[in-house]
Structure formats: C-alpha cells, structure tokens
C-alpha cells in the first residue's frame, strides 16, 4: 500500500512507541507494508515504504535493501541481532522497534493518515 503523499516519520515515533535502532532514520515514508514472508515483500512492497514485520534476522535487511524500503519497523518488541544492525547501518536501511503488534502498529499508522 502506498499513499499519494509522503508522510514524516519522526512525529509518528511517539505514537508507535518506537525506538530507532540504526544510526539514521529516513525523513519520510511513502506508505506501509505488513508481511513476515520475505518473498511476499519482494513481490509486493513499494520502494520508500515502512515495512512492518516480526522477522529480525539479517535477510530482512537484505530484502529491504533489494526493494529500497525506507525503514523496517520490528513489531512485538523484537530486536535485531548485532549483525543485522550493522548490516542495516551499512545498507542505509533504518531499523525501528516497537512493543506494539503488527496489527496495532498498522492501525496507528492508518489513523495517522498513512
């Protein structure tokens, strides 16, 4: 799913109770995508979106990089291992974590106009 107008990510962080884990965080996101299946993300995610997933291993970073996803929001309080984190920093993919479930986080994003 992709919105017409990009939306600023920073103001959403409090709503999502999200913590930024990587060095950088993108200014804007153009939409959101929820999936825990990597191939599904490869097939359907649009570039520039925020990807919500419970998957935390380094392939998440690879897939995000392949699709030029703006940032990955790890839900249900999941934290990546240090290898994934280092790789994300290198690939310029922002990793965020939230205690909210994918469903709750997506709901908040939807309410916020994404």
């Amino acid at each position: 799913m992709r919105t017409q107008n990009p939306i600023k990510l920073r103001p959403l962080l409090a709503t999502l109770r999200a913590e930024v884990l990587t060095d950088h965080v993108p200014e804007e996101i153009t939409g959101g995508y929820c999936s825990d299946l990597l191939s599904d993300v490869l097939a359907h995610a649009e570039p520039g979106v925020l990807w919500l997933t419970v998957q935390v291993h380094r392939n998440v970073v690879s897939v995000a990089a392949m699709k030029d996803v703006a940032a990955v929001l790890l839900t249900c309080g999941r934290k990546p291992d240090s290898a994934s984190l280092a790789e994300a920093d290198e690939a310029g993919i922002a990793l965020l974590t939230t205690p909210l479930s994918t469903y709750e986080a997506a709901g908040k994003l939807w309410e916020a106009g994404l």
Partner: protein, 321 residues
C-alpha cells in the same frame, strides 16, 4: 660503486629531454603566425601629419613606408615627436623616415624573432617574405599574445582530449561484460543476498533504472534463497551486459518434481526452519518469473535445477522501449 638501476637511468634521460610547451611553441610558431597583417602602410609622399593620424587611429608606434609593396623606411612615434618639436610635421614621410631597416623574414621562428628583439632593442620589426615584399609588422607584444593564444589552444585541446579519453573509458566500462559467479550452500541463510547485493551495486554504477534494478535484485535474491532452502547446493551467476542482465541459478539436485506446481504462488516444499525465517512462502519462482523479461526453469531429478532469467536493462531516465 653501485650503478643505478636501469629504470632510474631512463627516468633521468626522460627528465633531460623534457621541454615545456612554451619552448616547443617558440620553435614551432613562425613570425607569420604572430605578426599583424596586412601591414598598415603609408606612401613616401604622405605627410608626417597624416601618418600621425594613422598612428593614433590604429594605436601604432611605427608605420612602414612602402612603394608598390617594397619597404622603403619607417616612421616611428619618435620621428613624429621630433617633427612636432622642430616644426616639420607637414613634410613628406620620405624626408624623415629611417632607412636601411633591420627586417625579419616571415618564416623565421619566434625564437629567432625574440633573439632579434634582444639584439637590436627595437620595439618593432617589419616582416618581409622571401620575395622581399612587406607582409606584416611584429612587436614583442604580438609574440606574447600569439604564445598565450596557442598555449590556451593547447590547454583546451588537452582538456578535450582528456574528456574524450574519459568518455571512451566510460563507454568501455559500459560495454564490458561483468560476471559474478558464486557458490551457494544449502542452509546458509546468513549468506542470502550477497550476490544480489553485489549485482545491485554494479547496476547502480551503470546508472540503470531503479525499477529495473529492483526487479533484477528480486530475481537474484530469490535465486540465492531457492538454492539455500531447497537444493543440495549450487551456484548463482549474474552476467551483466550493456543491454541485459542474465541471472542463472544452477543446483545439483534434488530437482523439482512438478514445475507447474512450483510455479503456482503459495505452493512450497520448504521446511519449518526456513518458514520461521520468513522464507518458503511459495513465491520464489513466481516472483522470479514476474520480474524477468524472459524466464526458464529446467529441472530433473538426475541433474538438479537450472533457472535462467533475463532482464533487459535501461539507463535511468531513458525512454522504455
């Protein structure tokens, strides 16, 4: 005594032979290249007054006096000042001009011309051709201007040459085929994406359209993970040409029982571990086909599986065909 190595010797010889561009130009350029032409002349019968006006008009400090193209003498600014001083400004040029002039030939090198300026201390020389006709005038300023112009031209040529070399280099690079080939091991989930990442970088270096880059990345990534998840091991090769990228995944088995079934979205034979990692969605092959311009799967239980994907490349911003 230790003799210096051969390479050092060569270098010294090279240094001794090094000649600056300006030095070369001074040899190469001729008086005819630098002189002002055609010369502004006056007839011997013309008054010093009218020659004074001529000087003023053209900002010359000396006017050659000629008759039918033959140089007779020269009226300099000093001659005019003297004429004003002594009240003979209305006299004809022939009465006061300097005769027996030192002249330069138009085929002399500028080096020789500079030497003549140094030797005689004159501000200007009339220039004659081999038939003794006056063809121009030359000053030190003319020589400097000429050298500067040619140096500039040389510099521009050098820059243009450099730019051409760079362009050829880039063209060569673009025309070059790059092949990435790497083994992929069964169950090596941590290495998934290594090959596609490298390919993405190469495609980005070639300024390939981002959408096409993403499609190629999906194919390469799925090719890698397919081997990791399903095979007994294999190899992924990526061949990048200027107009296309070909991604081939070859494994040693066990082969796909029913390719038609495998091509259906959602059909998966993946085990529990890959599924937990988010693999095995049953979308690998369909994803690859969707992202390819040409796609082919050949599989049998004896030889394993060979997947070949072809993606046509286009530079970012180029019109799609």
């Amino acid at each position: 005594m230790i003799s210096p190595p051969a390479s050092e010797k060569t270098e010294i010889a090279g240094d001794a032979r090094k000649v600056s561009v300006a030095q070369v130009l001074v040899y190469e350029l001729r008086v005819r290249d630098a002189m002002s032409k055609p010369p502004i002349t006056a007839a011997p019968t013309e008054s010093l007054r009218s020659i004074q006006h001529l000087m003023k008009e053209h900002r010359f400090s000396g006017v050659p006096i000629t008759e039918n193209g033959t140089l007779l003498g020269l009226i300099s600014i000093e001659d005019i000042i003297n004429a004003l001083d002594h009240g003979h400004i209305n006299d004809p040029a022939a009465a006061h001009m300097t005769r027996g002039l030192v002249t330069l030939r138009d085929h002399y090198s500028l080096l020789r011309a500079v030497a003549e300026f140094d030797r005689h201390g004159f501000g200007r020389f009339p220039v004659l051709n081999t038939s003794d006709r006056l063809v121009g005038m030359i000053t030190r300023g003319d020589i400097t201007t000429c050298l500067m112009q040619h140096l500039e031209k040389r510099a521009e040529e050098a820059l243009a040459h450099e730019a051409r070399l760079r362009a050829t280099h880039t063209a060569d690079e673009a025309a070059q085929r790059v092949v990435i080939r790497a083994p992929v091991r069964t169950g090596d989930y941590d290495s998934a994406g290594k090959i596609s990442q490298r390919m993405r970088q190469l495609l980005r270096d070639r300024a390939i359209d981002p959408e096409i880059r993403r499609r190629a990345a999906v194919v390469a990534y799925e090719a890698e993970t397919n081997i990791i998840i399903h095979s007994l091991g294999g190899e992924v090769s990526v061949t990048i040409d200027p107009d296309q990228v070909v991604i081939e995944a070859v494994d040693v088995g066990p082969g796909i029982d029913n390719i038609e079934q495998a091509m259906q979205e959602g059909w998966s034979t993946a085990g529990r571990l890959p599924r937990e990692l988010g693999f095995g969605a049953g979308m690998g092959l369909p994803n690859m086909r969707r992202c390819s311009d040409r796609f082919e799967v050949v599989s049998d239980s004896d030889h394993g599986t060979r997947v070949r994907s072809e993606i046509h490349l286009r530079k970012a911003g180029a019109p799609s065909t």
